[in-house]
């Protein structure tokens, strides 16, 4: 969706302002927010794609006014309600008002190292040959998808070249909506900055993005 999360090429946010002495966490609650998000993800109640879509549906004014862990917490609360794991009343009360819903698994402390080491690989056996090869010219599709997608607005309808073939991966546009993994070929596609920003492009610059096969047409 074309939500506030789709930031490539937007203006008005000011300088990057990196902090040399930045702490890993800026407040104790950020630690808990990070861990809660990972632990709930480990229950298998939703995918990373579903959780990204939950975050990007935050009202744009709120998204832009929130820190990233605030966005995570808002997304987690939304997922709990949408997936039937908790009600808004329970979240407001901070206590259970009804029996828990079943979850696939609960992450035990002893299992954390193994679960983190395993991660969540998204590559899958190919179900069809790749349509494109390194060096092929492609054009990205125009679209106005209300659902989750990983094709940002600034890369729609633009010409590029296949830079790498990344394998066949879970397709977020499907999996975010519970419609199956639908493994799909993924390509790193290279764009000349001039083909994105015209005469305002910085010279001698390329942008490479990982784009799924349905986002691309030949030539």
């Amino acid at each position: 969706m074309n939500g506030a999360q789709d930031l490539g090429g937007q203006h008005g946010f000011g300088p990057v302002a990196p902090d040399v002495d930045e702490p890993l966490f800026h407040a104790a609650w950020e630690r808990r927010a990070m861990a809660l998000t990972l632990a709930m993800g480990a229950t298998g109640s939703w995918s990373i794609d579903t959780s990204r879509h939950a975050r990007e549906r935050m009202p744009p004014a709120d998204y832009l006014a929130s820190s990233y862990y605030e966005i995570w917490i808002a997304g987690l609360e939304r997922l709990l309600v949408e997936q039937g794991l908790a009600t808004a009343e329970e979240i407001a009360a901070g206590r259970s008002l009804a029996p828990p819903a079943p979850v696939k698994r609960v992450l035990a402390a002893a299992d954390v190292p193994a679960v983190l080491a395993r991660g969540g690989p998204t590559e899958r056996p190919a179900t069809a040959p790749a349509r494109f090869a390194v060096g092929d010219g492609v054009t990205t599709r125009l679209a106005n998808p209300h659902g989750h997608t990983r094709l940002p607005r600034y890369l729609r309808g633009r010409p590029g070249v296949i830079e790498r073939v990344q394998g066949c991966h879970v397709y977020p546009d499907s999996y975010a909506h519970g419609a199956g993994e639908a493994p799909t070929w993924l390509y790193a596609v290279r764009f000349a900055a001039e083909d994105l920003w015209g005469a305002d492009a910085e010279p001698d610059t390329a942008i490479v993005a990982d784009l799924f096969e349905p986002y691309l047409t030949p030539g």
Binding site: Q5, L7, G8, G9, Q10, H11, F13, V16, P18, V20, L24, A27, A28, W29, R31, R32, M34, L36, L38, A39, M40, R52, Y68, I73, L80, L85, A86, E90, G94, R95, P100, V103, V106, L107, A108, V112, L116, A117, R118, G119, G120, T122, E123, R150, L151, P152, Y154, L155, R164, Q166, L186, W197, E202, D204, T205, A206, I207, V208, D210, F212
Partner: protein, 229 residues
């Protein structure tokens, strides 16, 4: 460090009926900000529901505070600088080459290493969220996740680099990698001159976090302790 925030044995720490029954090391509810109260209530609920083991939360926090961080990536880069065969394996299959050093896992399942040269400087961003190679760099810094970097890196990377104090030599191409899928990118910075014969461990100290995102360069060996992370 994670223990002081633990809520073990506090079944309803965010609920007003219970908030004052227990010893909260960081003060009572009235002193907490709205987001602190909100996260505390959420943890309380999820623990009570049985979805979350509070001990697992502490292990998760400890993992990313003390075990997984940019030193992992620095080891990979130092090895690539030192061992041409490793460097080739890293270029061919970064996931496998990084796993050789015992490094793998969440947000690093599918790694790509992109090497800076005198001709090309690489820079990594995630315009759509905050994708970042956790297994080699740990948790991302705030600026990486915030709108200024995410909006500008793909449209004016040299202007962004200038804000990090990086001015590339004339003639250097810039290549910006927007991490739109589950591939995670590790920039291999250029090895500083004057480090011939250094040990991998010594070289690793020159490899900053930012140099592996592309918003920095490796440290000058003459002033290795200074500069950005």
């Amino acid at each position: 460090m994670s223990g002081e925030q633990s809520h073990h044995g506090h079944p309803h720490p965010g609920h007003p009926d219970h908030a004052h029954e227990h010893d909260h090391p960081h003060g009572e509810g009235s002193e907490l900000s709205p987001i602190e109260l909100r996260v505390r209530a959420l943890e309380s609920l999820l623990v009570e529901k049985g979805y979350v083991d509070p001990a697992a939360l502490d292990v998760l926090i400890d993992t990313y505070e003390t075990k997984v961080g940019p030193r992992n990536g620095a080891r990979v880069v130092a090895r690539a600088w030192s061992d041409p065969a490793y460097r080739d394996r890293l270029a061919a299959d970064a996931t496998a080459a990084i796993a050789e050093l015992g490094i793998s896992g969440r947000q690093g399942e599918h790694m790509v290493a992109v090497e800076n040269t005198a001709a090309v400087h690489n820079l990594v961003v995630c315009t759509l969220c905050s994708c970042y190679p956790w297994s080699v760099l740990g948790l991302p810094p705030v600026w990486y996740k915030a709108p200024p970097y995410r909006s500008r890196a793909v449209a004016e990377p040299r202007a962004v680099l200038a804000e990090f104090g990086v001015a590339l030599p004339a003639g250097t191409s810039v290549r910006v990698w927007d991490s739109t899928a589950e591939m995670r990118y590790l920039v291999v910075p250029m090895r500083p001159a004057g480090t011939e014969g250094w040990s991998e461990e010594a070289l690793a100290h020159l490899v900053t976090r930012d140099s592996m995102i592309g918003t920095g360069l490796a440290r000058d060996p003459a002033g290795a302790s200074a500069g950005r992370p």
